[in-house]
Symmetry: C2
Amino acid sequence: MNPLDATRALMDGLGSEANVCMKCGSRSIGLCAPLDVAALDDMSGESERHALEPRDAIFHQGDPARHIYTLTEGTARLTRVLPDGRQAVIGFRFAGDILGFTPDKEHAVGAEMLTKGTVCRLDRRRLEHLFRRYPVLERRFLDLCVKELAASQDHILALGRFSAEERVAGFIISLVEAQERRGRVGPVFDLPATRADIGEFLGLTLETVSRAISAFRKRGWIRLHGHSGIEITDRPALMGLGSGEGVHAA
Amino acid sequence: MNPLDATRALMDGLGSEANVCMKCGSRSIGLCAPLDVAALDDMSGESERHALEPRDAIFHQGDPARHIYTLTEGTARLTRVLPDGRQAVIGFRFAGDILGFTPDKEHAVGAEMLTKGTVCRLDRRRLEHLFRRYPVLERRFLDLCVKELAASQDHILALGRFSAEERVAGFIISLVEAQERRGRVGPVFDLPATRADIGEFLGLTLETVSRAISAFRKRGWIRLHGHSGIEITDRPALMGLGSGEGVHAA
DNA sequence: GTTTGTTCTTGATCTACCTCAATCCGCGGG
DNA sequence: CCCGCGGATTGAGGTAGATCAAGAACAAAC
């Protein structure tokens, strides 16, 4: 069921390699950022890397929450399904983000890859040991957690008070900023998700998302390159709309 | 401006009293829950208690975030205002909850009391020292943070996918559960907030909240006692609606 | 008990977004 | 090159909830 099980045999060798962590592209932004070389070496032995394809699940909603994951490459989607089948996208995650920490015994959300990528898997108990050995790691974890909480509050604000266009504009801006924080430059970037995914994230339908994007295009705020490529041509306009400046926007 | 400043003189004596923490009603549910007597004694010297009246601000959006607060008695509201004046209620907080932690230098949200109550104020830097002295405290803080993150995701789900009645039902249920976790029993409990506050929390107008509550009353799911008193007479019905069972609800 | 102000309720209308439906685009395979 | 299919776009009409407006219930002060 879980594709990680299927790929385990293939990847097991990698996990024990001495200095995988040293080569990790997310070393400078993820959980491990504050660790020194010795600690990273230690960490290599505790973690397993897994390569994943688009649409692969990292974990399912309801799975026992035995591991914590770091997304080291690629983009993932956090989803939650309701008893009656409705689905919501809780968030998107990028290289360096942590996935799967929960106070409960089971995952309340599911996580699936949107692109190819890799995750780094850590046993929850071993992480607790690591916390004891490297207090700076626990501090880092707490920081990331508080940051995520702040981001959640932004999203709550957007869902509760923003119009459709404001939400889409804010989403595009936050994506660009997330990419820039990870070193991506250049005017055109890729939407990692379909209109349907974006809609489920923003509490809108895919048609409404599409209409908002079309409106931005017609106003000359963005240019589209294929379905997923977006070039921002009027960033201030987009930012103004997406951050709640309301009708006073320039 | 900040009412804490105004009441400081009045309360300063209290803060230095040796064993305030021992008498603290929130000792068993708040941040300090895992601390032993010696640590609590230590903590007493680091924290200041403040009594607050309804509508008093604990801190304002934009204030420098120099302190962390524990709400020891009463109910508070977290709000956020947008550049154009729109306001959203990000959440409600009860005895034992922590307020005001943020990764930034300024508070991104404001916090105001809805009832009379008391808060316990801790300097952020001193808290870091305490973390070093009592690692169990940092662990506790992390736990509370992760729990809050899970609650935020629930709220995101509700705002994005729930109908007005579902949101109001879910809100009432979550309130009751929060009260019960704090020892409150009995069939009738008080809504801590006005219809307007509830609406701003749920992304609805006060009229829509009122209509939902009226609908529940007409269905015999609740009885009202004055404006804020609610007695739940059909809890399964409310829970079914409020947890996303959709049209299949019994 | 009356007054006064606040909060809540209920009704009528309006609108942003949803829903349903048709067409279009872009990309990979034959 | 053309086909086929999963997305994306665009249009037309419906609806949940917003908005505007009038009263009613409640609470606190006198």
